[in-house]
Symmetry: C2
C-alpha cells in the first residue's frame, strides 16, 4: 500500500505520506514567492499540480502498490469542482478505484447538517464519476444511539421527515429533500468509523475490498 | 442600498463595498501575524467574524439601507458549511431576505457540471434555510442557444437525460439525478445574467422584488 498526499496547503498530517505533493508544490511558498493571498495561492497550487501529474505517477509506480490511498484537499471548490482536480484524479487513479467521501460526525448531528453533507457528497460523485462511499468520520464523538439515528435518517426517509420537522425546517423543502435522499439509494448510507477507537475500520475494509475486487484480493 | 463584503480573504473586488469586513479582519494579516498557512488563516478569519457581527450590524444600520447586498466568501466549506457562516448570515439578514447562488457559466456548459452546481446550490439552501435563487453568472460567455439548452436541462429532465447519456455518464446515477432535479422544482432554474452586457439584470431585479415584497416596494 502507498499513501499520496495531494493537499499542497496541508499544515499538519497525522501520517507520513509515501509521496507528498508538498515536496513539489507548497501553497505557503507560492504565497511568499509571488506575494499571493491565501485564496490565490491555493488556486495557483491546484493549477500547478496538473503540470506535475506525470512526475507523481512515476513516483507512485516506483512503489508498485497493491493499494494507493490518495488524500485530496478538503476544499472542494478548489479541488473537486475545478477542472484541475478531476484531471489530476483521473490521471492518478487506477482502473479499479473508488472515492471515500468523509462526513464529519459533528456535522451529521442534525438532520439538516447530514442532508447538506449528503448533497455535497452526491455532487462530488457526479464530478469524479466513480463509485463512492460515505464515511462518517470521528464516530467516537457520537453516542451509539445517535449513530443509529443518523443511519436511520438515510435508510428510512420517514424517520428523516419526522426529525426535519422537529428541527422546524420548511415543509416543502423537506418533502423535496426526502425524495432526493430516497433517490440517492442505499450506497449513500455512511459507514461510521473512528481512528481513535478503531471501530468500523474492519467493516470499511470489507466494503472496500468487496467493491474493488468483487471479493478477491487484487493482484 | 448598501453593500457589505464579508470575504476576509478577497484580494480584489470589482466594486467598492460600503462596509468591508477586511477593515476589521484580513486573512492576509492573520497569516503574517500568527504565521498561519492559507487554510488556517481563512478558518481563523471566519471564526473571528462571529465576534464582529454586532459591530457590522451597527455599521449596516447607520446606512438605513432599503436593500442590503451581502457578498459572502466563495469557499463554501469555509463559510456556508461551517457553523460560523450561517450564524453570521442569520444575525445580519433582515426578515425579508433571500440567497442568490452564483453558478459560473463555464461550469454549466456540460450537463454534469450543471448538475453538480445545482446539488451544491441545494446544499447551501439547506444550510441557510432561506428562499434561494440560482443565477447563471457571466452568461455573455455562452451562446444564446447554449443558454436555452442549459435552461432546458433543468426544466425538462428528459432533455437532461439525453444530454447526460451523450456525455457517457453512468446510467443508474443519471436516473437518480434526474429524479433529484425534478424534485428540486422550478425555482432551481438559473437566471442568466451578465454584468458585462447587462443582459438579464432587469429580469433578476423583477424576480427579487417579487420574492422580497410580493410586488410592492419595501418601505
Amino acid at each position: 500500500m502507498a499513501t499520496l498526499n495531494l493537499d499542497p496547503a496541508a499544515e499538519y498530517l497525522p501520517y507520513t505520506p509515501d509521496i507528498d505533493i508538498r515536496d513539489q508544490i507548497s501553497a505557503r511558498q507560492l504565497m511568499r514567492k509571488y506575494k499571493l493571498g491565501p485564496n490565490a495561492s491555493m488556486l495557483a497550487a491546484m493549477d500547478l499540480m496538473v503540470t506535475k501529474v506525470e512526475e507523481i505517477r512515476e513516483q507512485v509506480n516506483a512503489f508498485e502498490p497493491e493499494y494507493l490511498i490518495i488524500d485530496t484537499p478538503g476544499q472542494m471548490e478548489l479541488f473537486a469542482f475545478r477542472g484541475s482536480g478531476s484531471m489530476v484524479v483521473n490521471k492518478l487513479a487506477g482502473e479499479r478505484s473508488l472515492v471515500l467521501f468523509t462526513i464529519d460526525s459533528n456535522q451529521a448531528r442534525s438532520p439538516s447538517g447530514l442532508v447538506s453533507n449528503l448533497l455535497l457528497s452526491l455532487s462530488t460523485q457526479y464530478r469524479f464519476q466513480r463509485n463512492q462511499y460515505n464515511v462518517l468520520n470521528k464516530s467516537d464523538l457520537l453516542s451509539p444511539d445517535l449513530i443509529d439515528e443518523i443511519i436511520s435518517w438515510v435508510e428510512e426517509p420517514q424517520q428523516l421527515e419526522i426529525s426535519l420537522q422537529a428541527e422546524g425546517l420548511e415543509a416543502e423543502l423537506n418533502l423535496r429533500i426526502i425524495q432526493i435522499i430516497e433517490a440517492m439509494g442505499s450506497t449513500s448510507t455512511p459507514i461510521p468509523v473512528s481512528s481513535l477507537n478503531r471501530s468500523g475500520l474492519d467493516r470499511l475494509h470489507a466494503v472496500l475490498e468487496q467493491a474493488l475486487t468483487g471479493g478477491e484480493k487484487p493482484q
